[in-house]
C-alpha cells in the first residue's frame, strides 16, 4: 500500500486580539487517516488550551505491513501550535514476501510555531522489516517536543528489523542526527553497548528557543535514562527499559524536568 498524507496549520489573529491556530490542510490517504480531535490526555506545553490545533493520526489498516510506503508531510505555520498524536500504537508487520515497509515523515516548523508530537509506541513484530525516516526542519524560534518509543517484539516475541532515523535541523544547521538499528538485520544490536537485551527504547526531544544555547544540564536520572543537553537550545531524554510501562515512566520524569 502506498499513501501520502499532508497536514498544515496557520495562525489567525481575531479582531478581539485573541488568535487561534487553524488547520489549513488535512489530506488523508488510507491507511494514514488524519482526524481533528479534542484534547486527549495530558499535553505538555499546551495543556487544554482551546486555541491550539489538534490532530490524531489513525491507522486505516493494519501495519505498516512489509511493502507499504507511507509518506506524511507536516507544516506548522508561523506562530501556530499543533498537537499531533496517534489514536493507537503502531504494529510493524512482515509482508508476504519479506519486503521492507517504510514511513517517511517530513516536518517543517516555522518561526514562533510549536509542534507537540507525541505518538504512541511502535511495536516491531517478529519478522518485520521497516525503515522509518523522520526529517524535521526548524526555523529559528520554533519549538518542538517529539517523543519516540520503540518496543522490540510483542509479548515474548523477538523483533524483526527496524531502522529508525531521526534528523533535526535548526536554522539549516544539524541539531540531532540519530539512527537506531535493531533486529536480525542490524549487527551488534543486542550488544551491552546498544540495547543490552532491553525490550523498550525511547527518546524525548525538546527544542525550546528560550534556552538559547544553554539547555538544562545533563542528568543521569538512573542507570537506564538520562537528560542529554544538545549543542543548541535543545535536550534529549534517552531511556531504555524492560517494558513499555517503565519506559513511559522514565520519559515522563525527563519530560517534567524539561517542561515543568
Amino acid at each position: 500500500m502506498r499513501a501520502r498524507a499532508e497536514l498544515a496549520t496557520d495562525y489567525i489573529q481575531r479582531t478581539d486580539g485573541r488568535g487561534r491556530s487553524r488547520i489549513t490542510t488535512l489530506r488523508s490517504e488510507s491507511p494514514l487517516m488524519l482526524r481533528p480531535t479534542f484534547p486527549k490526555g495530558p499535553e505538555p506545553w499546551t495543556d487544554g488550551a482551546a486555541n491550539v490545533a489538534r490532530v490524531c493520526l489513525a491507522a486505516g489498516a493494519a501495519g505498516p505491513v512489509g511493502g507499504d510506503e507511507l509518506v506524511l508531510r507536516v507544516d506548522v505555520g508561523r506562530d501556530s501550535t499543533l498537537v499531533l498524536r496517534d489514536v493507537s500504537a503502531t504494529l510493524l508487520l512482515p509482508g508476504p514476501g519479506g519486503e521492507q515497509s517504510s514511513t517517511r515523515v517530513t516536518v517543517h516548523v516555522c518561526s514562533g510555531a510549536t509542534l507537540v508530537w507525541i505518538p504512541e509506541p511502535v511495536i516491531a513484530a517478529h519478522g518485520c522489516r521497516h525503515r522509518s525516516d523522520i526529517r524535521v526542519d526548524l526555523d529559528p524560534g520554533a519549538r518542538l517536543l517529539l517523543r519516540e518509543e520503540l518496543l522490540l517484539g510483542r509479548h515474548r516475541e523477538s523483533p524483526g528489523t527496524v531502522y529508525q532515523h531521526l534528523r533535526v535541523r535548526l536554522d539549516g544547521r544539524p541539531l540531532l542526527n540519530q539512527q537506531l538499528s535493531v533486529g536480525p538485520g542490524a549487527p551488534g544490536w543486542g550488544s551491552p553497548a546498544v540495547t543490552g537485551g532491553r525490550r523498550a527504547l525511547g527518546t524525548l526531544l525538546v527544542v525550546d528557543p528560550r534556552w538559547s544555547d544553554d539547555p538544562p544540564p545533563a542528568a543521569a536520572l538512573d542507570g537506564d535514562s538520562a537528560v542529554l543537553p544538545l549543542n543548541g537550545p535543545a535536550a534529549l531524554v534517552s531511556a531504555v527499559a524492560t517494558d513499555n510501562l517503565s519506559l513511559r515512566r522514565s520519559l515522563d520524569v525527563g519530560l517534567d524536568r524539561l517542561t515543568g
Partner: protein, 234 residues
C-alpha cells in the same frame, strides 16, 4: 623531511604511517579511556570475554562506524585541500553525539591527538582545524598528512573504537589478554567491512554520513561522568 601531503608518500612508507598512528603507544592519551566499558562493567552488562565481544561488536557497529565515516571524510577533505569543510563535519558529528560527556571526551581526545600530530606530522591543516576538534577529524586529517587514503583513516578509527575498550577490559575484569585479543581478531572482518563502507561515502554530503546510535553507550557515559572515583577517564 617532514611529510606535507599525500603526493610525497609512497605505498610502503604510508603503511608504516598507519601502524604509527594506530599504535596504542602513540603519546595521545588514548590509553586512559575505556570507551564506556568501565561503566558497563559496573552495571554488570560485561563480565567475561563473550560479553566483551558483544560489547565491542555493538560499539563497532555504532560509534565505531560513525567515527570511521567521519575520519574517512576528514581525510578526503584534507587530501583535496578542502580543510574549511572540516567545520561542517564537526557540526554534523556533534549532532550524532547526544551525550555531552561523549562530545567532551571526543574533543579532549582530539586535542590530545592534535598536540601529538602537530609535531609528528607538520601540515598546514593543523592551523585551520580549530583548537578543539573531534577525535575522528584529527585522526582523518593526520592520515591525510601522512599520505594515507580515507579507507586507512576509517580503519584506524574503527580499530581505535574497539582496541581501547578491549585492553581496558583486561585491567577492569582481569580477563585473559590472549582470549581478549582473540576476540579482537574475530572482529577483523567486520572492521574491514566498516572501513570499506566509510570509504565509499567519504566524499558525499556530510549530512548523509552514518548516524548509528548506541543508547546504552550514551547512558553509560553520563553515569560514568558522575563518578567521583574511576580508573578510566571515560
Amino acid at each position: 623531511m617532514a611529510g606535507t601531503g599525500a603526493a610525497e608518500a609512497t605505498g610502503a612508507d604510508a603503511a608504516a604511517a598507519l601502524l604509527l598512528l594506530s599504535d596504542g603507544r602513540l603519546p595521545a592519551g588514548g590509553h586512559a579511556h575505556s570507551g564506556g566499558l568501565e561503566a558497563t562493567v559496573a552495571a554488570g552488562r560485561v563480565h567475561d570475554v563473550a560479553s566483551l565481544e558483544g560489547f565491542l561488536r555493538g560499539r563497532a557497529a555504532t560509534s565505531g562506524t560513525v567515527a570511521a565515516a567521519f575520519a574517512a571524510a576528514a581525510c578526503a577533505r584534507v587530501i583535496r585541500g578542502e580543510v574549511a569543510d572540516l567545520g561542517t563535519l564537526d557540526a554534523e558529528l556533534d549532532a550524532r553525539m547526544p551525550s555531552p560527556a561523549l562530545r567532551a571526551t571526543s574533543r579532549k581526545l582530539g586535542r590530545q591527538l592534535l598536540r601529538a600530530v602537530r609535531v609528528i606530522r607538520p601540515h598546514p591543516c593543523w592551523d585551520e582545524i580549530g583548537t578543539s576538534p573531534h577525535h575522528p577529524l584529527v585522526l582523518g586529517a593526520a592520515c591525510a598528512a601522512a599520505g594515507l587514503p580515507p579507507r586507512a583513516a576509517a580503519l584506524a578509527a574503527v580499530h581505535d573504537a574497539v582496541v581501547g575498550p578491549a585492553t581496558a577490559a583486561v585491567r577492569l575484569l582481569g580477563l585473559d589478554p590472549f582470549a581478549t585479543h582473540a576476540a579482537l581478531a574475530r572482529l577483523g572482518p567486520m572492521l574491514d567491512r566498516i572501513a570499506a563502507d566509510a570509504d565509499s561515502c567519504a566524499v558525499g554530503d556530510p549530512a548523509d554520513l552514518p548516524a548509528d546510535s548506541a543508547p546504552l553507550l550514551d547512558l553509560a557515559a553520563e553515569q560514568h561522568a558522575t563518578w567521583e572515583v574511576r580508573l578510566f577517564a571515560s
